[in-house]
Symmetry: C2
Subunit: 363 residues, 2 copies
């Protein structure tokens, strides 16, 4: 087995989820990621914890969703019971074909997401980690060779997470203290929002591996302006390009896309609260040096900002603040490399991808 896989399993067990003796651990992974499942079972055994292995098959999910009556979908009570009894949930992504669910009705996917929400909520209340195992399909999506892509993934994952945590702390305090954020990029993005009383979180790869962002939640109702998302969103195997959202009083009042606008429309019809922003994130993982059309990596890139419509993470919602509950959480990315700035209460904290606390920054 490639030694980087055992290293990856070690980061998951020791850094991200802190597996200990007695823990009930669930590893959820597709067939392609069996090597990582093996490495994880080894480390779980070594810690005297107890593993269970949930499979994941996009092909099977597609077959189910095409065959099922969307009106009759039920919350998977058996999976919910499993999740309620676990201590640690490790989810591995490893697509064999990134467009496997491209011929599933987006309404069916949205319906399944809705009935799955109670399960998702249980998962989020536990120690959980979402990570990636490199596959040929992901490499192809990134327009990379398999070998180069493997190196890219393991460089981003098998990082010195203590050093990365310190680096990111530089942005946590300013965000925590700020009341207003403004994001400007090029001609088409100029959006403002209040983050007053919200909590900025340092993502040092506890839940996402790779981690590498600082994120918070906007005050619902405060978002104003428009955003052009430079990078395509992959959703149910379909590429939504040139997405554009216009906000008024915190709600999306207008949206558009170059390709697959219908997918974006479906997303924005998931439920009543999906039209609000649930997250604002600043990417800070510079081991991720290119877009790979994979949100788990793209949103962590050093010179990007991302916003998610839908659900706000509880940890980012201040004690006396209102959050946003939605079955969906869809991240979209703004490139901040050129002609861009992030302002906190009117002060520029990042310009063209360089942070104010960095030497290269020109005030």
């Amino acid at each position: 087995m490639d030694p980087r896989i055992r290293e990856h399993a070690g980061v998951i067990a020791d850094h991200s989820t802190g597996i200990e003796a007695g823990d009930m651990v669930v590893v959820s992974a597709p067939p392609e990621a069996e090597d990582l499942v093996v490495a994880l079972f080894e480390v779980i055994g070594d810690r005297n914890a107890t593993p269970a292995y949930m499979g994941k098959s996009e092909r099977a999910d597609r077959a189910f969703m095409r065959a099922a009556d969307a009106e009759e979908l039920e919350t998977p009570a058996h999976t919910k019971a499993l999740y309620e009894e676990l201590d640690v949930l490790i989810r591995v992504r490893a697509p064999r074909n990134a467009t496997e669910t491209s011929d599933v009705d987006p309404a069916a996917t949205a319906a399944r997401q809705r009935v799955g929400q109670p399960v998702q909520e249980v998962a989020l209340s536990k120690r959980w980690c979402l990570t990636q195992f490199p596959t040929a399909a992901s490499a192809q999506l990134a327009e990379m060779s398999s070998e180069a892509y493997e190196q890219f993934v393991w460089d981003a994952v098998n990082l010195d997470w203590e050093a990365q945590y310190e680096f990111q702390e530089n942005m946590v305090e300013p965000l925590d203290d700020a009341a207003e954020v403004r994001i400007v990029s090029g001609e088409n993005t100029d959006v403002s929002m209040s983050i007053d009383g919200m909590v900025a979180v340092n993502d040092d790869a506890r839940h996402n591996l790779p981690g590498g962002e600082v994120f918070t939640a906007p005050v619902p109702g405060s978002v104003e302006g428009e955003v052009y998302f430079d990078k395509p969103v992959y959703r149910q195997g379909r590429e939504v390009t040139d997405a554009r959202l216009v906000f008024e009083d915190g709600e999306v009042i207008e949206h558009g896309a170059g390709k697959n606008e219908a997918v974006l429309t479906e997303i924005l019809e998931t439920d009543a609260s999906v039209r609000r922003l649930g997250e604002l994130g600043i990417g800070m993982n510079r081991a991720i040096d290119r877009f790979t059309y994979n949100m788990l990596f793209d949103e962590k890139m050093g010179d990007t900002v991302h916003m998610a419509v839908g659900n706000a993470y509880d940890e980012t919602v201040g004690e006396d603040r209102e959050g946003n509950d939605s079955a969906a959480h869809v991240d979209m990315i703004v490139d901040m490399t050129t002609d861009s700035r992030i302002e906190l209460d009117g002060e520029i904290v990042q310009r063209d991808g360089t942070f104010a606390f960095e030497e290269e920054f020109e005030a």
Copy 2:
């Protein structure tokens, strides 16, 4: 997808487990069997039931068992909770390497089986089905080409189960009525036992797919004599050949084997009740026309008898009778082709593989 796979999924859903709208269904399968998982998810969707997919990896299990401290193993509470909430459990076997766990300490395997028993008990209280997906490893074990083995599996599985049920009923009544069974084969097998008050079950592929046997439980303490098992037992990837058991007052008092006797010894040390027979079965599925070193198939062969040390199935234990509770249930096969007979209360009901109710039988 091979149409025989969809047919297989249909037999599982409609005949074996009777999947209905609202059922919570778990499919447990290794990566090699993904095609059958896809076909099952499709039929589960079509019936408006709710699927979950448990993975199974012999490689991961091996890694876990080699790394874990056998003394510290715990009952997987999370898996138990999943099982408690399900209506239907479908288990698929599909090895990539039949000897994958051959370097795991048999004591570790036995310990894991022990802590897993509460989970197993929940599973057995549900609608469940164990089946096989053809793989190159299983074909190799059977000394067959992959294509011939696929045909063999699907011939045995995609059978006319109503006709098969009727055929097997011919043996259910005699076994149900009988008090004493005697099995004689060649020079080395001559064993008697009481089945008085026990229940004979017609296995028409509700729990095992393929099915094709009639089985019951011996009265504990009644087994006397010796048995030579003609066919090797595959256990944890190791082949136990020429196994021999000697019974006195219902207990194994002596055992031996040609190869891997230590594996047999480990089995017989699982717990206090594993030294008793839990099952006597008569194979009646003639679509299975050869040994493939796979108990799920071998024990159903027309001219064989099998006995299992360890656990007795509740359904075979008469209301006022004592059963046998053990964490193990290990089937072993006696070839009844030549120089063999089954006697019920002194009357021959099968000679050299031919049943008394068949035309070819010579009284």
